[in-house]
């Protein structure tokens, strides 16, 4: 185990190399953006993919040659007194893994997009945005302080906005994009306030300095609880946790590769990344950890139940993503930091895989997304089917697929800390397996339920799409072995990440020490596998054996069914308690306060003066007699008022 951070460590390579990591995709963005219409789709795609591949290459080199943590300072960004925000990179285990993930999965999805977006008229724009996203995400993971993190944080939000609303002629897409951005901004506000509080508490926003200072604090310090809660609000927004998750299902309005890259593999895990980054702070705040765990657990369960009744292939995946993110937070909440990252990685593999697979299906079905109109596709789309199946097995926690290892590890951790949450996790695992296989069976099994025309056009996707699917499928299948001590003898990931949690471990050794005895461990493994298998079985009986078909939209549903089908009416609820009141407030303030109070008061001064002027005119009757009398009255008054002085 490596000992503490070495802040003074020098970067082993020239700064330019580090600059290039995010800069390459950014160049891709500039080229594709500026030459949007002038480039053919393939060239644009090639530029977009190659730049990301370049970043991947550099990241890989850094990863392979990594020896110690260090920072790279590019320039001073904002300097105001002690609020010093240099533009600095942090190169350590966490950022390297994230780099690999972002550039690696990002590259695959770029390649996939070449085929998927082939027919779109704005391919250049699409790749530009995608590259911009990769750039932002890289800034996010590379930053060595909270503000640089925030740059990437908002940057990916912007790209998410741009890509969700990519087909911007459709109002629903634009609404979804706007919703994503705004809800993310709610979280961002929390994050921003957290940063302010960090600055006020530690007089710095640099990770190294903040964590160093934090490591000397007492567990349970109020201010750190406040900081972490605020940060977690940010994470809730970005990582779609209760109650800020509603944007993510809507975000499926974007092109499918976007959903795969942004809304499954990378961006939504930024919240987890952030918590991992600040694990010292979270370790100091057990109360926050409770909140994190419960929010995570509840989100996992809640989203899974919604996933049961969704009929849009991407929506199901979206809710599943929310649910899996919930798992990750659940892990964080019980201080399973490396476990959480483990799940981030495996989830990135299998969820990206499934989204891309769904994209392949949608592509084949001429943009049909409703699984009630699919069925029996396994013959027409064999590669897609097989890879999708691997993804489903992985997410359902069936050994030896990757999801099994990470999910099981999470559940073990949770079991040690909180049995109720463990129960929730188990139920979720069951539900996950059920709705994933429901999706699989409805899509790929049974008879085809689409139109003749769709049937006629059914075809397997081109190589540029299937190749990434295959690679991801391999990763989803074997990725779990990076953290499978039982099989490979060593938990590579946990060992690798250990230095990141040195402070946390020192602060709260017990939380790290806990090792389950072998029997319990086996029992837990058995239970979680059983839950997954049970879910698959139930789905099989229901949708293959009994050939149940989901009801049409207007079918009659029982009350609980309807509740789930309508996603618990959360969107409607938010609409009623947030959107409508704000709109009404806007109208009300404008009409009644602005035009009804403030403006009339201002104008009132004018009116009073004008009225006074009119009054004075009435005195001026034109009669000399009256004037003389008034004059004498004035004289008498002046004399009378001075009488006391005489």
């Amino acid at each position: 185990m490596q000992e503490t951070v070495i802040p003074a460590a020098v970067a082993p390579y020239p700064t330019l190399l580090y600059v290039l990591i995010p800069l390459l995709p950014f160049l891709g963005f500039l080229i594709n953006g500026l030459l949007n219409k002038k480039l053919s789709g393939t060239v644009a795609g090639a530029i977009g993919s190659l730049t990301v591949l370049g970043s991947f290459g550099i990241s890989l080199m850094l990863f392979l040659n990594f020896q110690y943590q260090y920072t790279v300072k590019l320039f001073d960004w904002i300097t105001v007194g002690s609020m010093q925000i240099p533009f600095t990179y942090q190169i350590d285990q966490l950022s390297l893994i994230m780099l690999m993930l972002v550039t690696g999965v990002g590259f695959l999805i770029h390649v996939y997009s070449i085929g998927y977006m082939h027919h779109d008229e704005n391919v250049g724009k699409f790749f530009a945005f995608l590259n911009l996203f990769v750039f932002s995400m890289l800034v996010l993971v590379l930053g060595a302080n909270f503000v640089i993190l925030f740059i990437g944080w908002e940057g990916v939000g912007l790209c998410s906005y741009l890509l969700i609303g990519f087909w911007n002629k459709e109002t629903p897409n634009n609404n979804a994009a706007k919703k994503a951005f705004i809800i993310n901004r709610v979280g961002d506000l929390g994050f921003l306030l957290g940063i302010f509080l960090i600055y006020l508490t530690f007089d710095s926003v640099q990770y190294a300095e903040v964590f160093q200072k934090a490591s000397t604090m007492q567990i349970g310090t109020g201010v750190v609880t406040a900081i972490t809660l605020l940060l977690f609000v940010g994470a809730m927004g970005k990582s779609a946790q209760l109650p800020l998750y509603t944007w993510l299902p809507d975000a499926m309005a974007g092109p499918t590769p976007v959903s795969a890259l942004i809304h499954a593999a990378t961006m939504v895990t930024a919240g987890i990344y952030m918590v991992l980054r600040s694990n010292v702070l979270f370790t100091l705040a057990p109360d926050t950890l409770h909140v994190v765990a419960w929010i995570g657990g509840l989100t996992a369960l809640f989203a899974a139940t919604i996933g049961l009744a969704q009929n849009d292939i991407k929506k199901v995946l979206a809710y599943s993503t929310v649910s899996q993110l919930g798992y990750m937070f659940l892990a964080l909440g019980v201080m399973g930091y490396s476990t959480s990252l483990f799940h981030v990685l495996t989830h990135a593999f299998f969820k990206a895989l499934m989204f891309l697979g769904a994209g392949s299906v949608i592509h084949a079905m001429s943009n049909e997304q409703d699984i009630r109109r699919m069925g029996g596709l396994r013959k027409a789309l064999p590669i897609t089917f097989l890879t999708f199946l691997i993804g489903c097995l992985a997410i359902s926690g069936i050994p030896p697929f990757s999801g099994f290892f990470s999910k099981d590890e999470i559940l073990e951790h949770v079991y040690q800390h909180n049995k109720i949450l463990w129960g929730i996790g188990m139920v979720t695992a069951f539900l996950t397996a059920f709705y994933m296989f429901r999706l699989l069976f409805l899509t790929f099994f049974g008879e085809f339920r689409g139109t003749e025309e769709q049937k006629h056009h059914l075809h397997e996707s081109p190589a540029s799409m299937t190749l990434p699917l295959i690679i991801l499928a391999v990763l989803a299948a074997v990725g779990g072995f990076m953290g499978a001590p039982m099989f490979v003898g060593k938990h590579y990931l946990a060992d690798y990440l250990a230095p990141l949690f040195t402070y946390s471990q020192r602060l709260n050794p017990e939380a790290f020490a806990g090792e389950l005895d072998h029997g319990t461990e086996l029992m837990l493994i058995g239970l979680s596998v059983a839950a997954g298998v049970l879910g698959i079985l139930v789905a099989y009986i229901q949708y293959v054996s009994r050939r149940v078909r989901p009801a049409e939209d207007d079918a009659h549903r029982s009350a609980p069914e309807s509740l789930v089908y309508h996603k618990y009416y959360i969107d409607e609820l938010y609409n009623t308690i947030f959107v409508k009141p704000v709109m009404a407030l806007s109208n009300g303030l404008y009409r009644f306060v602005e035009q009804g109070i403030i403006d009339p008061i201002v104008n009132g001064f004018g009116r009073v003066t004008l009225g006074g002027g009119q009054l004075l005119r009435y005195v001026q009757t034109g009669y000399v007699g009256l004037y003389l009398i008034l004059m004498v009255v004035g004289i008498v008054l002046i004399l009378a008022l001075n009488v006391f002085q005489f």
Partner: protein, 493 residues
């Protein structure tokens, strides 16, 4: 002498313009504005060489002129440039040529008068930013108002008369309060029988009781509050912005609004520190109310210009809050945000104008789907919009980050409430962007032409600044740092 040149060159050019007609007038005006900008940049460069970090002693000396104006009364023609003034002068001289260029597509009748007034106003604005004598400051403060009144009143749209009338009355009434305060302060300066003087240093050195300061504070504050404007002194603003011709709106929102904040920094906080500490909290609350109020009202506006006007109200509220937080971050944030807001709001109004000219309407509901035919326009619009919603690496972020940090430092709850602006700004701006640029086309927007060269010539410099300030704010922060530190030292004395 440089300062004097900056001050008087535009008015000299304005006088010359009288002999030019039509197109020649606007070209001449543009040329003059560019010369002015070049000189300002020269001043900035030579100043930043003198102003090494920590060398705050050099703040006033190199560019100052101090000669008697009304000798008997101790009123001097005292002008100078410190970092703060310099940045404001840079902003003014940067924006004025763009504003002139932006008006090229309009054929304003009586063009020579129109452009002469713009240049005349530039002198007034620069005068405000360089004056170091209270009465000189007031003098230019009002001088800047007269041309804008005529620009807005003569070349504005239908309701201009009533609206600009209200604007003129409102602002001038506000500033009369300031004059009263200045006169009062002026008569307090004769402490050691050294004679009355209205020099800024004499005002800084006054020792007033807390109750005196409270009065003076309010008198001066009202002038600045009306100018900025701070809630609830703002009702002139949306109407004026909406009814004015675009160059006037740009001048008002891009530069004139900053007079209020600049004035607060230079002529309010350091002069009445006790009054500020006594009433600053109330002002903070008003500002924060204004932030939220403006943003919420902006959500449902139907007219693009009016929406941007309310957005500006919201943003300026944040600047005011940052200033009154009396924190280093808040003040520096306000400085950088003045620049950023100047760039963004001018760009936004220009884009609104382009759209209105192309489609004949400013009503958001009548627009839509512009982006299909106008990719360049949508990119420019989006960039400026992102600057306004304070996306990191754009200019708006640096300002809002520092401002919110300052307000947060002052009071976390106020900071949290003020922070809601980043959500609401996204709400109303994205709503506007969506309804105008995205979605299905309407009958107004089905045939529309993308940006022309001269329009790009306006927008590109603005966009460059959006990213320059966003990426390298230290360029500007460093210039203003000594001046801001000096102000803070005076406030905390």
């Amino acid at each position: 002498m440089l300062t004097a040149f900056l001050l008087f060159f535009p008015v000299a050019a304005a006088l010359l313009l009288h002999f030019a007609k039509g197109n020649a007038a606007r070209v001449l005006a543009l040329g003059a504005a560019l010369v002015e900008f070049a000189v300002a940049v020269f001043a900035a460069v030579s100043a930043s060489m003198n102003m090494a970090p920590g060398n705050s002693a050099a703040a006033y000396t190199p560019f100052s002129i101090n000669i008697p104006w009304i000798e008997s009364a101790g009123i001097n023609f005292h002008i100078g440039l410190d970092g703060l003034s310099l940045l404001m002068v840079l902003l003014t001289t940067f924006l004025v040529p763009l504003i002139i260029l932006a008006s090229f597509r309009h054929n304003y009748p009586n063009a020579s008068a129109f452009y002469a007034l713009i240049l005349f106003m530039q002198t007034g604005l620069i005068g405000v930013f360089v004056s170091l004598d209270a009465f000189l400051f007031y003098f230019f403060w009002e001088v800047a108002l007269i041309p804008i009144y005529f620009i807005a009143g003569v070349w504005g749209s239908e309701r201009r008369i009533a609206v600009t009338f209200k604007f003129f009355l409102y602002t001038i009434i506000g500033s009369l309060f300031m004059l009263a305060a200045f006169v009062y302060l002026y008569f307090q300066t004769d402490v050691n029988n050294a004679g009355l003087t209205s020099d800024i240093s004499a005002f800084y050195n006054l020792t007033l009781t807390a109750s005196q300061q409270a009065w003076v504070f309010w008198l001066i504050f009202i002038a600045f509050a009306v100018k900025m404007p701070i809630f609830p002194f703002h009702t002139w603003q949306p109407d004026t912005y909406t009814e004015s011709p675009v160059p006037a709106t740009m001048l008002l929102s891009g530069i004139m609004l900053k007079m209020g904040i600049y004035g607060t920094l230079r002529w309010l906080l350091p002069i009445v520190p006790l009054g500020t500490s006594q009433w600053g909290k109330l002002v903070m609350i008003l500002s924060v109310i204004g932030i939220i109020y403006g943003a919420i009202i902006a959500i449902r506006q139907r007219d693009m210009k009016r929406l941007i006007a309310y957005s500006s109200l919201s943003h300026v509220g944040l600047m005011a809050a940052g200033v009154f937080s009396l924190t280093f971050m808040g003040l520096q944030g306000a400085v950088i945000q003045m620049l950023a807001h100047g760039v963004n709001v001018v760009g936004m109004f220009f884009i609104g104008d382009i759209i209105q000219r192309r489609t004949g309407t400013r009503q958001i509901s009548e627009l839509g789907g512009l982006t299909k035919h106008t990719p360049l326009l949508s990119v420019c619009f989006l960039v400026l919009l992102l600057g306004t919603v304070a996306l990191p690496l754009t200019n708006g972020f640096v300002g809002e980050f520092l401002l919110l940090a300052g307000v947060y430092q002052y009071n976390p709850w106020l900071g949290a409430v003020a922070g809601v602006t980043i959500i609401l700004a996204a709400v109303y701006l994205l709503r506007m962007f969506q309804r105008v640029m995205l979605g299905p086309e309407t009958s107004f927007t089905s045939t529309i032409q993308d940006l022309t060269g001269s329009e790009l010539a306006v927008l590109v410099p603005l966009i460059v600044l959006v990213f320059w300030i966003g990426l390298f704010p230290n360029t500007f922060l460093r210039i203003s740092e000594p001046a801001v530190l000096q102000i803070l030292a005076l406030v905390n004395r």
